[in-house]
């Protein structure tokens, strides 16, 4: 299996080097780079699945270049294997998509650099989840951020791309600062830079150190995952990156933060405290609600998808929060079920969010605009993209036959297993959290009805829709693969859960067995609350639909169909502008939640003389971005003011500089005299 690991890394490096020589006219080289990335993804899937299915851990040791900082060691245990599988299968799909996508007019210039950065970006992600040394983990972590920064700033002529890149890189750096301090706190305790001694030493940590390390890790990885107070970079950065890259960023990059968090919570910090669980749950539910509430108000498709990533991170954190809570009140079986729920949602989110971004990329490549207000009726021009977007929209809104529902159901049940814990607080709040999760998933359904409906259905709102036509084969194949995954991950739920059970075993010891979660085709929960058979549900729906179709066809014959214009109340001029717009669609929710949004609207009215028949020239409605306005903007303004003030100490007068020296000298002498 080591061979496949090395092969994967080698292919990425080869792909990167190949792309440096590729240029716009040499098509086959840019196609080769993405093909190589795809093959590398394939190799990755091979050895990660092997490890998940029970093969011994893959481990590899590079000769370390730097003294004092430990050895560069790679080990692929079940947890790393799961994340490598995630990275590989999504990068396989995005690479196939990218073969066609990079040829479209979107990304004509800068292809060589884009290809190189793309391969380098996936390579660093794979390395991050497999490295076993603190120092090299931080190096690959920051390399991942650098690669994604350059990808976000790829179209650097646009000022908003530069601004997004800047915010993204600074927020990531803040996260890395916290992660560095968490790791060094661990190092100070154990004296070694390797991960294995850290997890071996975990039970001996004193409570004060554990709490400190937990907080640093939560804030550090939370910033990278896009947890609510630290999320402002996500809706800025993802839309700027090319779509197949933002699919990877949303699908997998923020999951490396979840990987880091899991490693800290369940391997490095030994037995957690109960308040950790509630802290994570609070952050999780805020991320879920705010993520979807802001996603609803977006007009730009990729920003909408970015906000919905924040919502899904919230769902994952809900699972992790309950897992931490259960393992704090030493119920390992319940805790492992919650971890399995979280990991399952990580995988599902990678599948459908990747597909959403890819189809958004397809739409972008044809219509050259991300703004939903001037799209519409694309289903007739791009049927395949529309179908894939529909599948992923249904999956993300957790509609039953697809994978979204399975992981949502697992998260619901892991929340409701809170009934079994003896603390009254969690017994009351767990169902409340579950109902808020239901509320959020209903809003997601609304959000994606709006997205799909406004973009693909109805009549085209602007001419850029008319020139668009279906994307080429490689992009369709990429999207098709992910759509198939959305269905496959639902049907194969029992198999997948038994694999994830192995990862849970790594956390909670071997007494956690997969038959606590799976009985033949049924997913059961250890607390005996309920059971669910995804395959049965899928078959039931499909069979019933077919029966009705056949029944109506047999009993009532073909039935005459007459094509006529849509109902226009006799006005005879049903123009596309009479349709509901994205802003209009989310208007009721904006009114209901006006306390949160504080919506402001500006209407420029123009009346040709008579004030009754006035025509609104321009309507602009903005939603108050709560976190930016209340915390981040004042902070940066305050820093600016302080810096201006401090600038005054450099006035240019040499006498002033001399008096700085003499005053400091006198103060030091006094300090010496006092301290004696």
């Amino acid at each position: 299996m080591e061979l496949f690991f090395i092969l994967q890394l080698a292919f990425y490096v080869l792909g990167g080097v190949f792309s440096l020589f590729a240029s716009a006219e040499k098509e086959n080289l840019s196609r080769a780079t993405h093909l190589l990335a795809g093959i590398a993804g394939g190799c990755g899937m091979v050895y990660s699945l092997a490890v998940l299915f029970g093969a011994p851990q893959v481990s590899y040791l590079f000769p370390a270049g730097l003294p004092l900082l430990g050895s560069l060691e790679f080990v692929v245990d079940p947890l790393s294997a799961f994340f490598v599988f995630l990275i590989s299968f999504l990068s396989l799909a995005t690479s196939i998509f990218a073969i066609g996508y990079t040829r479209t007019s979107q990304l004509q210039k800068g292809v060589p650099l884009l290809g190189f950065l793309y391969n380098f970006f996936i390579l660093t992600m794979v390395l991050v989840v497999t490295v076993r040394n603190i120092f090299y983990f931080l190096i690959f972590w920051e390399l991942m951020s650098i690669a994604s920064y350059f990808l976000v700033v790829h179209k650097h002529e646009r000022p908003e791309a530069r601004r997004a890149g800047f915010i993204y890189f600074v927020m990531t750096h803040i996260g890395t600062a916290f992660i560095t301090s968490a790791f060094i706190l661990l190092f100070v305790n154990t004296g070694s830079f390797q991960f294995d001694p850290l997890s071996a030493h975990a039970p001996l940590l004193s409570p004060a150190w554990k709490n400190g390390i937990f907080l640093c890790a939560l804030i550090g990885f939370g910033a990278k995952a896009g947890m609510i107070p630290l999320h402002i970079w996500l809706p800025e950065a993802h839309p700027q990156a090319p779509s197949h890259v933002s699919a990877l960023m949303s699908g997998v990059m923020i999951k490396t933060a979840i990987y880091g968090l899991l490693r800290f919570l369940f391997l490095f910090l030994g037995k957690p405290f109960a308040w950790w669980g509630s802290a994570i749950l609070i952050f999780a539910i805020f991320s879920t609600l705010f993520g979807v509430l802001y996603a609803l108000m977006e007009q730009d498709l990729k920003k909408l998808l970015a906000f919905s990533s924040i919502e899904n991170i919230g769902i994952i954190l809900l699972g992790i929060g309950m897992a931490v809570f259960f393992s704090a009140t030493n119920q390992p079986v319940l805790a492992s079920f919650a971890v399995v729920a979280a990991l399952y949602h990580v995988m599902n989110h990678a599948a459908f969010k990747g597909l959403l971004f890819l189809s958004a990329g397809a739409v972008l490549s044809q219509t050259h605009t991300g703004n939903m207000e001037n799209l519409g009726g694309l289903i007739k021009k791009m049927p395949w993209t529309a179908f894939c977007f529909l599948v992923s929209a249904a999956a993300i809104s957790a509609l039953p036959p697809l994978n979204g529902f399975v992981s949502e159901w697992l998260t619901f049940v892991s929340l409701l297993m809170g009934f079994k814990s003896e603390s009254v607080g969690i017994r009351f709040f767990a169902p409340i959290l579950a109902s808020l999760l239901a509320f959020a998933s209903a809003l997601v359904a609304t959000c994606f009805v709006k997205a799909f409906g406004i973009i693909f259905l109805g009549t085209p709102r602007s001419k850029c829709v008319s020139e668009s036509r279906e994307v080429d084969f490689s992009m369709k194949l990429g999207m098709g693969m992910l759509a198939a995954c959305c269905v496959l991950f639902a049907l194969l739920a029992p198999v997948i859960i038994s694999l994830l059970g192995k990862v849970a075993q790594q956390f909670f010891g071997s007494e956690v067995l997969s038959q606590h979660f799976v009985r033949k085709a049924f997913l059961i929960d250890p607390a005996g609350l309920s059971q669910f058979a995804p395959s049965w549900a899928f078959i039931a729906i499909v069979v019933v639909v077919l029966c009705i179709l056949i029944a109506t066809r047999v009993f009532l014959g073909k039935g005459t169909i007459r094509i006529g214009p849509s109902w226009d109340c006799g006005v005879k001029a049903l123009s596309p502008h009479m349709q509901y717009t994205a802003t209009g669609f989310s208007k009721p929710l904006r009114r209901i939640f006006s306390f949160l949004y504080q919506p402001t609207r500006r209407v420029e009215v123009e009346d040709e003389g008579h004030e009754i028949l006035r025509t609104a020239r321009r309507f602009e409605s903005k939603v108050h971005p709560f976190f930016e306005e209340t915390f981040y903007r004042p902070l940066s303004k305050w820093i600016g003011i302080v810096s201006q003030k401090v600038k005054a100490i450099q006035t240019g007068h040499i006498q002033l500089y001399l008096s700085y020296i003499f005053v400091t000298l006198v103060l030091l002498l006094i300090f010496l005299r006092l301290s004696r």
């Binding site: 600038k647 450099q650 006035t651 240019g652 007068h653 040499i654 006498q655 001399l658 008096s659 003499f662 002498l669 005299r673």
Partner: protein, 221 residues
Amino acid sequence: MSMEHESILSLIHFMGMAFLIFSFAMIASPQLLSCVRFYALHSLSLAVITALIAYGNHVEHLIVPAILTLVLKTWVIPQIFFKLTRRLGVHREIESYINIPFSLVLSTLLVFAAYYTTGDLKVLRPVFSNEFIPLAIATILIGMLMMATRKNAVSQVLGLLLLENGLFLMAVTMTFGMPLLVELGIFFDVLVGAIIMGIFVFKIRNAFEGIDVDDLTVLKG
């Protein structure tokens, strides 16, 4: 021998007082040239003190720095300054941020502070007599005050040289002077420093038509 010792001791104390008076005179002198002359006298008293200490305590290797001070600081450096001011046609008055009476009050305060802090210093048991330590520190503080308040580049250099004299007195009274090699090096550095500062004053006058340090505030932030 003891009587001779007494007379040397009293002579040294007299020269110490002269040393302090000349530093007051330097900070109080309105004219640049008078300030340079006082500097020459100040170095002369320093040279005499060094010679007397050398003779009184039979420390032969102190004679060389005494002679060097006499030659360099009472004759060579003042000549440089005279030639400089004549060649540059620099106007004679000394502009300062604080007027002369106020700077005199300040310098007396500094002298008092020097005596207060280091007067009964148990820590420093100087080799020779311990009342020269506060005198040296007072001179250093006056030198600092002079540099910090003068607007004219030349008078800033003079403040620096005054500070060096204070340091040199401290060295002599604390440890009978440093090893000869180091003494020579320090003198060489002071001389080259003075020459280079002279060159730069010359450059400033060419560039800024005047050696008022206030024009030198272009570089900010």
